[in-house]
Amino acid sequence: MTETAFTSKAALKRLKKRRGTEWRFRMWGRAAVLFALAALAWLMISIVGTGYTAFQQNFMTMDFELSESILAPDGTRDPEKLRGANYRRVVQNTMYSQFPEVTKRKDKQALFALVSASGATNQIRQMVYKNPNLVGKTVTITVPASDQIDQLLKGYIKRDTDESRRKVSNQQIAWADTLKERGVIKKKFNKILFMNPDSRDPELAGIASAVVGSIMILVVAFVLAFPIGVGSAIYLDEFAPKNKFTDFIEININNLAAVPSIVFGLLGLAVFLNFMGMPRSIPLVGGMVLALRVFPTITIATRSALQGVSPSIVDGALSLGASHTQAVFQQKLPLAGPGILTGSIIGMAQALGETAPLLMIGMVAFVTEVPNSVTEPATALPVQIFLWSDSAERAWAERTSAAIIVLLVVLITMNGFAIWLRNRLEQRR
């Protein structure tokens, strides 16, 4: 074989170099993918790592003597009156009885701090309120331990730090260990996290009200955004004449999809709250703001789904004497359905994760009750996460991460479903 310009030494050398460049380019691509995956892994591991322990919590099972002399000195059995009684004393007595040798006031205080004061008193209070005949009896119930003890036993508060540097004293550690040995303190599934509304005390705080609030916001947002999004897409794609005005609408929608979400918060604040005078912190307003935020996403998804339907389908329907509206609604829309659904799910996932606009319309309220309707004050899961992440006690970090895990599981499920749906759609085409 003769040596040509392509088989010369120089050319081969150049080829080798070119192959090297090729390889490096490929590696850069691989590195970029790995970087993104590593970031994802770090994020997930860091959150799951701090959060998973919150799904279990330390509880104390103890006897509480509901003595009449403390709760009902006047012998009343009126539940309303019993509700205001001094349950703290009952809990204190129980705690003191665990270590009868403790006598000094300061030590007694430290001992009492092992149990969740608020949690225990309220649990007993509700029991007695429901069944006043319990007064005078002794009940054995399980109440949460205080957040400090919980953190200690989970190992977040290190025993080897200097005593002055930690909020739990050596004496308290000894008590906690003893109670654990006695089987009084046990780690159990943390039902509180899922069943309770928000609380000032980490050991009593739950995401129930925030979850319900989020669901309400999503329902309102969906009921508004879905018809608006799909309707305007159908109009723009199927019925709108091509003129300046429809161009304007189109630019508008595309732009709205990319407007920072906080601007929608400002809109909600200025229009819904200040101008229309709607109440602050209600899911209805939150849902309306988020509906405006996500309907462009739905519109854009719907339009691309509609454009993906072969025009011959509409021609076929028209040639049979279907009206344009009939052809669109009966033939085209059902075919675009999965695409519209995908877009809607992604839009709703977007709405579910949104925080900033809700801050603007006062959805940062502390709500002691799970809301019953869209006009009752509520908060949303991301906002709850934001509030908790800002709280001082160490136990909050764990609970914040746990709340994030819940939110992420829901979001990843939603997005995953949307992606799955889209992939199926692409395969079908």
């Binding site: 011959s312 389908i313 076929g316 329907a317 040639s319 049979l320 004497g321 344009h324 009966q330």
Partner: protein, 256 residues
Amino acid sequence: MTDTINTKFTCRDVRVHYGDFEALHGIDIDIPDRGVTAFIGPSGCGKSTFLRTFNRMNDTIDGCRVSGKIHMDGQDIYDPNLDPVLLRAQVGMVFQKPNPFPKSIYDNVAYGPRIHGLTSSKAELDALVEKSLRRAGLWEEVKDRLKLSGTGLSGGQQQRLVIARAIAVSPEVILMDEPASALDPIATAKLEALIEELKERYCIIIVTHSMAQAARVSDKTAFFYMGDLIEFDDTDKIFTNPGNTRTQDYITGRTG
């Protein structure tokens, strides 16, 4: 064909514009009531555009304007008061690529009768579906799988399904826009046989690229060139003794 045949469509000075572009430059033609009329001509000559004026499918294209007069049985089909939807119920259409709806075979055929409320009971509808499928020569092939999707049929079957779908609305006219171009020779033969059968009942207008097909199936042939109707006559005459040199050139393969 005898001379007593009525005229179905009367067209006078039909012009079609896409925006500023004039695609048809004033067509005058009378289409007979029964039988097959074929439109032939090179690509872009306007034959498909002209076909789509008969059921006003051009209305769906943005920027498309039709002027001139087209009368069907004496009725102006471009009368602003006429609902194109009702026109299309009477003028069925079959497209180049078979376009069954991604629904069951049954639903495909039943769609038209349903939107027009042609039947009042399930049994009646069943009967109509069967009749249409039989007439389209598809019944024997699909009677056991009416619930299966229409998109699962072969190309030729799909095209016959589309014809069955069109017949189900009881149209008077069937427009066919190169119906065999996506089909293999066997399916084409079946389709042509079907056209042969259908022309007894319907006015069929067919646009075709295949000269042979036009010669085989049509009774009359119109030759279009660059947006003009060059010649319109009995098929036999066009193919044996065309009156125009351009027609002659096209038929003998010198242009197109």
